[in-house]
């Protein structure tokens, strides 16, 4: 069974990678298994300066999902390049850097900074983080803004750029087309949906930031729908994510049009989940009559 996938800048031995923000920089999960088994790793978001993020509580549990408002806490791009990237690269696994910013200029500078290292294979442009006050959500919901930030980043880097789309929009196809036009090499979708939970006893939102991003199986039908719609209107590949828990979910994303799949929230419940999915995937593909991952991509579009 051939489960390898070729994407711009990424030769993946399998289509499975941990999603940004759900795997840190791999250190903790490397104690559970050899990260070399992964198709790739998407790192936690990098900003120009170190960020502390939002006040706590930062997470809440929901039905078949969770809310988070971490607020892009990270040690800053320089530190990531000097201490985290080499660690991940030591597993000989392609590293994708997720980059975020409050201004186009910040995005550009973060992207540029990753030119320093040759251990990063691609950038994932997080234009959709709902948990930061400035910038974040604007870039992700306005096609003109999305286009601008994508162009700026493309100018600043030689690396392939995957733009991560926000599902909090009326028209996801319009957003996808805008960033494709701006030169994106691929898409990542979906980021979290903005949600909230009330604490009945304290009479206020559970999450200190009030709103948080909804992830997990609860949002999978929305992810599948958006990928299905977008796939028919763009020619760049899609890294799919949103609620993947098992190999069957991966096949569902492939059928809808994803070329690779990221696993986020599931890592918190089962730290071995990526490894287990990778091991199971060939059997699942076989069970449903596929001879390779490539063969399944977009096969569910009717």
């Amino acid at each position: 069974m051939n489960i390898a996938v070729e994407l711009p800048g990424l030769s993946l031995k399998n289509p499975i990678m941990p999603a940004s923000g759900c795997f840190g920089f791999g250190r903790e999960y490397s104690k559970f298994y050899d990260l070399h088994v992964l198709g790739a790793v998407i790192m936690k978001a990098a900003t120009l300066q170190a960020r502390f993020g939002n006040p706590t509580p930062r997470v809440a549990e929901t039905s078949a999902g969770m809310l988070n408002a971490i607020g892009l806490q990270n040690p800053g791009v320089e530190k990531i390049i000097t201490t985290e990237v080499p660690f991940l690269a030591s597993f000989s696994v392609p590293v994708i850097a997720n980059i975020a910013g409050s201004t186009i200029e910040e995005y550009r500078q973060v992207a540029k900074a990753f030119q320093q290292t040759d251990q990063v294979s691609a950038l994932e442009l997080n234009i959709s983080c709902p948990n930061v006050k400035e910038g974040g959500i604007q870039f992700g919901t306005n096609p003109q803004m999305a286009q601008k930030v994508t162009e700026a980043v493309k100018e600043a880097t030689n690396l392939p750029v995957y733009v991560k789309l926000s599902p909090n929009v009326s028209d996801i196809v319009e957003m996808a087309k805008a960033v494709e036009k701006a030169g994106a090499d691929g898409l990542s979708m979906i980021n979290t949906l903005t949600g909230m939970q009330m604490n009945l006893a304290s009479r206020k939102p559970v999450i200190a930031n009030r709103t948080g991003g909804l992830s997990g199986p609860a949002i999978k039908p929305i992810a599948i729908r958006m990928i299905y719609e977008v796939k028919q209107h763009v020619s760049i590949p899609i890294i799919g994510m949103g609620g993947v828990m098992q190999a069957e979910d991966v096949l569902e994303f492939l059928l809808a049009g994803a070329s690779a799949v990221a696993v986020g929230t599931a890592n918190f419940q089962n730290p071995y989940v990526c490894k287990e999915i990778i091991e199971q995937l060939p059997y699942t593909l076989e069970q449903y009559g596929f001879n390779s991952v490539e063969e399944a991509i977009g096969k569910g579009i009717v």
Binding site: R27, Y29, G53, T56, R58, G65, T265
Partner: protein, 251 residues
Amino acid sequence: MQQELRIISKQKIARDTVEMVLENESISQVTVPGQFLHIHVQGHMLRRPISIANVDASKNTITILFKILGEGTRKLSMYDVGDKIDVLGPNGNGFLLDNTTQASILLVGGGIGVPPLYYLAKKLTEQGTVVTAILGFQSKEHVFYEEKFRELGNTIVVTNDGTYGEKGYVTNVSDEMLPIIDRYYSCGPLPMLKAVKERWSTIPGYLSLEERMGCGIGACFACVIPTDDRGGYKKICQDGPVFTAEEVHLG
């Protein structure tokens, strides 16, 4: 480590409070007081952090005590003896036993913060340290493990409503009732920890903190606590849950 632990006994020991003894070889051998298990409850997305309240390394058992608070702990309380529960652990750093001095130690526990102090008291007394425990509960029906603490050292129980023991908060216990203390260890709700830190501000102390968790292993940054005003932080699940009283800002 992720493992399936078999429940070998389950008992209600106070109002809404359940004691569960779990069987497992490896975890019981390596655990230190203050560490926690990150427990998966069927049908729930996130795991629940629960402190290790006792370990019997010879019998390969681990005891947890938990309060039925929401859906997750309610479902956990309905697991039967013989069922297996999926846990990650032992997670976190645990209390520094600091066995260099023959010190007089104060343990201050509030409600469901009491459990980790029991295993700590056992380990401390094993090494010859003298412990005094102040255990605070809401009311009489919430009190648990009083006898077990008494077996290890002088124990003062206080209840908020005065229905048992002294009336008031753990910090209301007057100095006359206590020996000279070299160091304290505390676990309980945040307001209590703040009061404890203030009440015993002149002696070194260790605080075990709580926060809502995602991964429970240090990867997601859900459970940070600031260590200064300049962006310094620690992760409760990985660097904690135990911190020195000075190193954390309780807000």
